[in-house]
Subunit: 209 residues, 2 copies
DNA sequence: TCACACTGTTACCGATCGGTAACAGGTTAC
DNA sequence: GTAACCTGTTACCGATCGGTAACAGTGTGA
């Protein structure tokens, strides 16, 4: 969402540029209702503008979706780094911190200010359901994102001295992704998500024994 | 898909009733491209008929979707029971058989005859992304389905004498759901799915120690 | 034979989809 | 002042969405 340095006066008006308003609105609507379910008309009017102004900022809806995805990815890494930072040098503690953080917020930035609706899991993962298989562009964004998650978890497993770091990393990823996925069906913490800390600890123990 | 007892001659014509052709076609298209991405026009013509005949068999698209979901659920339980049957009385072996079966087919009935496209994970779970939150009807179908999966896995964990059967059952569910979810991004067995057998065994071991 | 159930066909409905043309007003910078 | 930029507005485009009316053809069962 990074509102890039804007002409100094825009700040006092308190109203961000159209483009930023549109992107922010799109992020909320896409995440909550899905990509296909939200039209550009709805996004524009919800952002307090109209369709014509939308197409002045974005060449097409697909471009907006691409920006939505990279935006969500950016927020995810920000969350990841923040969770991991306090335990630098202690990979096991880092992994556990990540897992525990997944429990209370399956997705970062769960509208701390606004209505705090229930989480709908991973924005990128959900988008993958709606992205047509011939759309290389959007598909590649999600693939890169998930590949990076996998790489980071495997790295963490390697650093903590796991016997089979690839297996442990992948196993942790399955637990996390499963948590995101089941959030769609079980609101809040009513689902199997609550089991993830104990499960992760048991897996780590088994790989360090 | 159960083609119910049809007037004896329909067999020799080799062409099932319109309604069945439509449902079968819809199952394929919905699963592969998503629910919102497939219109009734496309389904009808793909099934060799037209829209008018479609609406003679189904009151609305939502009714077709509901039938699609319950159909997929039925196939899933059929697969489950078949995998589990050979190891009756050995709950641990049953759980392991389920896990192992998830690896080579993330979804049942992976088009054994036809083009054998890559799996797209859980039909019901994916549908949940596209179902609007105010649609109680479709949402309830998915919720019941996932709840039953959870119940069965917890039951298995209890039967094998796990110390915390709810935790073990939920943990196994997270692994399985994570496998389905990541299939969307990593085609075939290129993703973290391959780690699920070892992970599941480690978890079970930890809960039986 | 006659009636009925099933299917195909064509044309249509209002609504919405993604996307564009043309024009008007308001700021800002020089 | 004036040119450039940003935004709002209205109207429109072809295509598709879910859904319906009316009519014609076919086979079946009694």
């Amino acid at each position: 969402m990074s509102v890039k340095a804007v002409s100094s006066e825009a700040i006092k008006t308190e109203r961000p540029r159209v483009r930023d308003r549109i992107l922010e609105t799109a992020c909320e609507l896409f995440y909550r209702h899905g990509i296909r379910a939200v039209g550009v008309d709805a996004i524009a009017s919800e952002a307090g503008t109209n369709k014509m102004s939308f197409y002045r900022s974005f060449p097409s809806k697909d471009d907006l979706v691409a920006e939505y995805l990279t935006d969500q990815e950016g927020e995810y890494w920000k969350w990841w780094d923040e969770v991991v930072a306090p335990y630098a040098g202690n990979p096991r503690r880092q992994a556990e911190a990540l897992i525990e953080s997944v429990v209370d917020l399956a997705r970062h930035k769960m509208k701390e200010a606004s209505g705090c609706k229930t989480s709908r899991g991973c924005a990128l993962g959900n988008a993958c359901v709606e992205i047509p298989e011939d759309n290389q562009r959007l598909g590649a964004i999600v693939h890169k994102y998930k590949t990076e998650i996998r790489r980071r978890l495997r790295k963490l497993a390697r650093e903590m001295g796991a016997k089979e770091p690839e297996v442990l990393g992948d196993a942790l990823m399955l637990l996390i992704e499963g948590s995101y996925y089941t959030r769609l069906t079980f609101p809040g913490n009513t689902g199997p998500v609550t089991a993830i800390p104990k499960a992760a600890r048991a897996l780590i123990d088994a790989h360090l024994a």
